[in-house]
């Protein structure tokens, strides 16, 4: 693969076809785990791991997999990696496992994973499939981190658990709604709106 192709994949995954603000996939976990930055980081790491390795495995097996059962195979492979993450968290980081609750297991049903397997990995060689998956997962991650940062700072006055000047002080009336589920909807909508506006104005300029 040439440098140009890699750049193209990065541009597609991170910006042009960003899973959150263009494809609007994986919104369930976006809303659920973005109340604290640390939870979000772990969730994003788990997603990068799952998407990239699932895409790699699906791509390696693509010449042998019969078309009519390909989705069963994909789901099986995705489930395998997700269970591995779940067991690792339960064994070595039980606190985080409890924080994330059922959402680690729900990565299996995250549309981004299945979407990348179907759209790219099933018909492309391993290297391309894996890079495409990693960039898509990173595209998901950076949006989630933006949302989580706003929610944690405004709602709790902290960042990664450490107090933020001004926001953790007495003059800042904490917006509790931000760490509750409705806060996620507001921040997500504003983030999608902002990014789409920037994107559209860029496209207009090109014309």
């Amino acid at each position: 693969m040439t440098n140009r192709q890699i750049k193209q994949l990065a541009y597609e995954g991170l910006w042009k076809n960003n899973p959150i603000f263009v494809q609007v996939l994986g919104i369930c976990s976006t809303l659920a785990v973005t109340n604290l930055v640390l939870n979000t980081i772990v969730m994003c790491a788990a997603l990068v791991f799952t998407v990239s390795l699932s895409a790699l495995t699906v791509s390696i097996l693509r010449d042998f997999t019969p078309r009519n059962i390909r989705m069963m195979i994909e789901t099986l492979i995705i489930a395998f990696y997700v269970i591995i993450i779940d067991v690792i968290l339960k064994a070595y980081w039980p606190q985080m496992s409890e924080n994330l609750g059922p959402y680690v297991g729900l990565i299996i049903t995250n549309c981004i994973v299945m979407g990348r397997c179907e759209a790219c990995a099933i018909s492309n060689p391993p290297a391309r499939a894996m890079l495409d998956a990693i960039f898509n997962a990173l595209g998901y991650s950076f949006i989630l981190l933006i949302i989580a940062t706003f929610r944690e700072v405004l709602g709790m006055g902290t960042f990664l658990g450490f107090g933020v000047p001004y926001f953790s002080g007495q003059y800042w009336d904490k917006w509790t709604i931000m760490v509750m589920p409705p806060g996620a909807f507001f921040v997500l909508a504003i983030v999608v709106w902002t990014f789409r506006t920037v994107q559209m104005s860029q496209e207009d300029k090109k014309k």
């Binding site: 659920a32 042998f64 059962i69 492979i77 591995i84 690792i88 064994a91 059922p102 959402y103």
Partner: protein
Amino acid sequence: MKEKRWFPVMYMFVITAIVSTAVIGFSQYTRERVQANMERTFEIAVLKVLPGMFEPDLSFVELHKKFQQEIDKPTDKTAGAYTLRKNGTIEAYALPIEGQGFWAKIKAVIGIEADKKTITGIVIYEQTETPGLGAEVAKKEFTDQFENLKMSAQDKPIAFRRAGEELQDGQVHAVTGATQTSTRLEKIINDNLIQWLEKVEN
């Protein structure tokens, strides 16, 4: 070869076998650690329901030591309950309870005062109820209602009431929208308490 009818079946079978072997192997490898984590969660739950035992600042190791030193293991006389004693007399019981929830087993520890009439607290340490609805029973807002809750003198020690209703002895407000979980949790607590009250030595 791919056109053969048996190929997809065989293929699925082989992939499933490989993947499940890997998962089983991996979970065997981490089993001891997971087990230890679960025991720790249980010990902390016991400390939390007993009055004045849980200190949030202590590390896990210190809490484990505290559990080992100060909590007495269940005996026939206590009918399965852990006990907190001062100078030999029982101050409070911590009774592990479990039963079927809406999706899977719910496991909890209930703290009971020595007179066996008042609940000192409850910690639900294992549950897989619906997130946002049934799973709310494990949260502080719900479980705090059990602190110093007098059991009802009637045949059912506790009862769940709708949010907003007036409460009498042994009654708590159920989580709104979690009908199934509430019904089952109420039954788990009552069944276990009634059974225990019959067996435990006075």
